[in-house]
């Protein structure tokens, strides 16, 4: 019986000859998983694309914000002319309905905002969430009460209310993407914090944690050294899902007018706008949605890989897929 634990049929670590003792580092274990590495490459490619946006659009000879009224059928609501949303040598991925803006250029530039904001916001959320979750779990009854109630306040305060307030206070000159990522980070950490608290509470009295306590660590270092490694699995799994939700939130903020300043594109915004066009200009919806999906998938697979690589016990589990088990 051969079972693969690795996500999506990773034939991971197929060599039964493990790495040499002492050097079986995280990276080794990660590299042994093909699917995770593939997913990692996709993410790297996306990030590179985002970074090289000006270069790529120059190559395509397109500007993300230039209107092409001639590329759409104005009388029919602005459907792109030509098949598949106007895909052709001129416009590699077709054009946006209505405006005729080049989709390739907008996708490439949109990657900057979407990935940048979502990843940064996720980091902020993780930082706050992990800190507060650990504090609640380890800090004694009062700290727990305060942190938990604070979390409640944060959860109950809808994003919309906060975003509008921040929009009013923060001057327009502050770079929007940074501001938005920060706002999202400041609002969306409660899930992580809850998760970390729940898991940490369960682990708090494990013998190995008690042992660490005796070794003279401060609570904080115990949290970092003893608890975090065990919390890594759920956190990573969760974080991989936070990225798409952050992309959607960014889109929703744009929708409310507090997001990225137009005409700067973002994927979420494109999907938001494309939803009614699914029948008449399907590529407009499918391309950004597909890319978002690939991103999410890659993050999940990569996250799974990282999770496995972080778990020393998993090495043998990964091997389940392999030919190693003669039993």
């Amino acid at each position: 019986m051969t079972q693969s634990l690795a996500l999506l049929g990773t034939e991971a670590a197929s060599s039964s000859e493990g790495p040499a003792p002492g050097t079986r580092s995280f990276w080794r274990r990660l590299r042994a998983q093909k699917a995770a590495m593939a997913a990692g490459s996709v993410i790297a490619l996306l990030v590179l694309t985002a970074l090289a946006a000006p270069l790529l659009t120059a190559l395509a000879g397109q500007d993300p914000n230039a209107y092409h009224p001639e590329a759409v059928d104005s009388a029919a609501g602005g459907v792109p002319l030509g098949s598949f949303g106007g895909i052709g040598a001129e416009h590699w991925l077709g054009v946006e309905p209505g405006t005729g803006r080049d989709l390739f250029a907008r996708i490439v530039y949109g990657a900057r905002v979407s990935l940048g904001v979502a990843l940064f916001a996720t980091l902020v959320q993780l930082a706050i969430g992990i800190t507060l979750g650990l504090a609640a779990a380890l800090g004694g009854r009062w700290t727990d009460q305060i942190v938990s109630r604070f979390t409640d306040v944060n959860v109950a305060l809808p994003l919309m209310v906060l975003a509008l307030a921040l929009l009013a206070i923060v001057p327009q000159s502050v770079p929007r993407p940074v501001l938005i990522a920060l706002v999202m980070g400041l609002v969306g950490w409660s899930g992580v914090s809850k998760l970390v608290r729940a898991q940490a509470l369960a682990l708090k009295h494990a013998d190995h944690v008690e042992a660490a306590r005796l070794s003279g660590w401060s609570t904080w270092r115990i949290a970092r050294r003893e608890l975090l490694p065990s919390l890594a699995a759920p956190i990573i799994t969760y974080a991989a899902l936070m990225v798409p939700s952050n992309i959607s939130v960014e889109a929703a903020l744009s929708f409310l007018g507090v997001g990225i300043k137009p005409p700067t594109p973002s994927w979420g915004q494109m999907i938001t706008e494309a939803d009614t066009w699914y029948q008449t200009a399907p590529t407009y919806l499918l391309i950004p949605a597909g890319l978002l999906f690939v991103t999410v998938l890659s993050l999940t697979v990569f996250g799974e890989g990282v999770r496995l690589a972080l778990d020393p016990r998993a090495r043998t589990r990964v091997l389940r897929a392999g030919k190693g088990s003669a039993a």
């Binding site: 003792p21 090495r315 389940r320």
Partner: protein, 528 residues
């Protein structure tokens, strides 16, 4: 047909050859003891009997036949029938081998129902019955407890009960009595003996305690480095071992009657300030009517360089006391005064190490906590500690699951030693070690005690070991200290009946003596 037929079994974990060409057979109703030093592959062999290496990445070769099932090639269903139904296993780490979320009784019932088509209620009844058989007091109530509410020994008995519940043809018991005090141990061994006699159950007993082996098996198999060193009837092997290694092993066995060097122990000067003093400690568990004191008014003190041995019944509150002494548990009454420079060696090495951190890192924790930053120095110091506990210093980057039970315990000891504490509370520190390693560790502790004036609280059920290392001994029962005094007083002239009982229960190394004692015990029990 033999119950077990193992031919040329080899098990390899990556580059580690844990078992190397082992062959042996076991007839129905017979009992085979497997002894050997820690890490010699005993548990690995035991696992192989139930096909537990499947899908773990270990490569297994040879043939293993158990109760007619070819374990290595059997299909999933056949294997499930074998496991628990025909052959049951008692694992070495009792504390982490039970599901923390369910009541003990339910877990036993669950397993029972896998092999017997009975109602839930009947299964629960069976669970209570077997728990009672392994000597869990008040089994009806305690069957509703969860694992963390059980003491180490109680959990071990629960596992034995689980194995017995299914009335298997073969019982594979991997160090089943390491956490048990001698009276309970004797009781369990008697029980196994009885079952063998009654049902013709075969027994494969993995142990490092030669005394235990002598009491309960017919044949003995000595392992070293994954290979069989010697095999023969237990009487002859123990009386006249052929191999040098076996001789060495036997020589290292501590003897209860040995009046060893303890007379020349420097001892804690009576006048010295105690490093730690506990007064009238109390700890109660449970709620409402169920409330009961786990530790009930215990006062102890330890002076520098002194070793206080704590012996007593399983579940008498030894671990609870130890945890209170180091401050991991807040007492419900009484006080602990003295140094905070204390360490603890936990009863269960499996759960005391973080599975996600390399053992080197765990040992280095106290060093880092004291501000040591130099990686080289840390590694050197950890290496030194590993050597001291008899492990290879290159194991720094290995993870706990790659170690045998005894090896893990040594890692824990190394970690406790790392910060050079003034007092270590050792909760059964050597019970999972083979006698040679045990001897090494004991002499290490002794050395440290001498050199650094280290004080020890030494919880153990092995009375011989306690005698060997302790200056004073406290005997605990039901949360109280029933007797305490110097080693000579307690061992020489025990006053409390319980102490007497304990001393009488120490397994003898000679199987014929053991048999004699067993029948004595039986008579006693019948008379009572």
């Amino acid at each position: 047909m033999s119950l077990i037929e193992v031919t040329d079994l080899s098990v390899r974990f990556d580059e580690v050859r844990a078992v190397d060409g082992v062959s042996f057979t076991l007839d129905p109703g017979a009992a085979l003891g497997v002894v050997g030093e820690s890490g010699s592959g005993k548990s690995t062999v035991a696992y192989a009997l139930l096909g537990l290496h499947r899908e773990t990445g270990a490569s297994v070769s040879g043939t293993v036949k158990v109760a007619g099932v070819d374990v290595l090639t059997a299909d999933e269903r056949e294997l499930r029938g074998l496991r628990g139904g025909k052959a049951a296993m008692v694992f070495q780490d009792p504390l982490s081998s039970l599901d923390p979320y369910y009541a003990i009784g339910d877990q036993i019932a669950e397993v029972y129902r896998v092999h017997h088509r009975v109602s839930r209620r009947a299964a629960r009844a069976r669970a209570v019955e077997v728990l009672d058989r392994v000597g869990i007091p008040d089994a009806v109530r305690r069957s509703r407890s969860r694992p963390h509410e059980f003491s180490g020994g109680m959990r071990q008995r629960a596992l034995i009960a689980m194995a017995l519940a299914c009335s298997p043809e073969l019982l594979v018991a991997d160090e089943p009595t390491t956490a048990l005090d001698v009276t309970v141990q004797a009781q369990i061994l008697d029980l196994l003996h009885e079952l063998r006699a009654e049902t013709g159950m075969g027994l494969l007993l993995v142990t490092h305690d030669v005394g235990v082996a002598a009491e309960s098996v017919d044949d003995i198999l000595v392992m070293r480095h994954g290979k069989v060193v010697e095999r023969g009837p237990v009487g002859s092997v123990l009386a006249s071992p052929r191999e040098a290694y076996t001789q060495e092993l036997l020589a290292a066995v501590p003897r209860i009657d040995a009046s060893d060097t303890s007379d020349v122990r420097p001892g804690g000067a009576e006048t010295a300030e105690p490093v730690l003093e506990a007064r009238d400690l109390r700890k109660v568990y449970g709620k409402g009517k169920q409330v009961f004191p786990a530790v009930d008014g215990v006062s102890v003190s330890v002076r520098p360089g002194e070793t206080l041995g704590v012996v007593g019944e399983s579940g008498s509150g030894k671990t609870t006391l130890g945890r209170m002494l180091v401050g991991l548990l807040t007492p419900d009454g009484g006080s602990v005064t003295g140094t905070s420079d204390v360490q603890m060696v936990f009863q269960d090495p499996a759960s005391a190490l973080n599975p996600r951190r390399s053992i080197g890192e765990s040992i280095a924790d106290p060093l880092r906590a004291r501000g040591e930053k130099d990686e080289e120095r840390i590694r050197a110091r950890v290496g030194e500690l590993l050597v001291r506990v008899g492990l290879d210093p290159t194991l720094y980057d290995r993870y706990p699951h790659e170690f045998s039970g005894g090896q893990r315990q040594r890692v824990c000891i190394a970690r406790a030693l790392a910060p050079s504490p003034r007092l270590i509370v050792c909760d059964e520190p050597v019970s999972s070690l083979d006698v040679t390693t045990q001897a090494q560790v004991l002499s290490l502790l002794d050395e440290l005690r001498r050199e650094l004036g280290l004080a020890l609280v030494f919880v153990a059920h092995d009375l011989a070991v306690v005698r060997q290392v302790s200056d004073r001994v406290a005997v605990m029962r039901r949360g109280r200290v029933v007797e305490s005094g110097t080693v000579a007083e307690v061992y020489g002239a025990p006053k409390d009946p319980y102490t007497k009982q304990l001393l009488a229960a120490v397994p003898a190394l000679d199987p014929s003596v053991a048999a004699e004692r067993r029948s004595e015990r039986k008579e006693l029990a019948e008379a009572a």
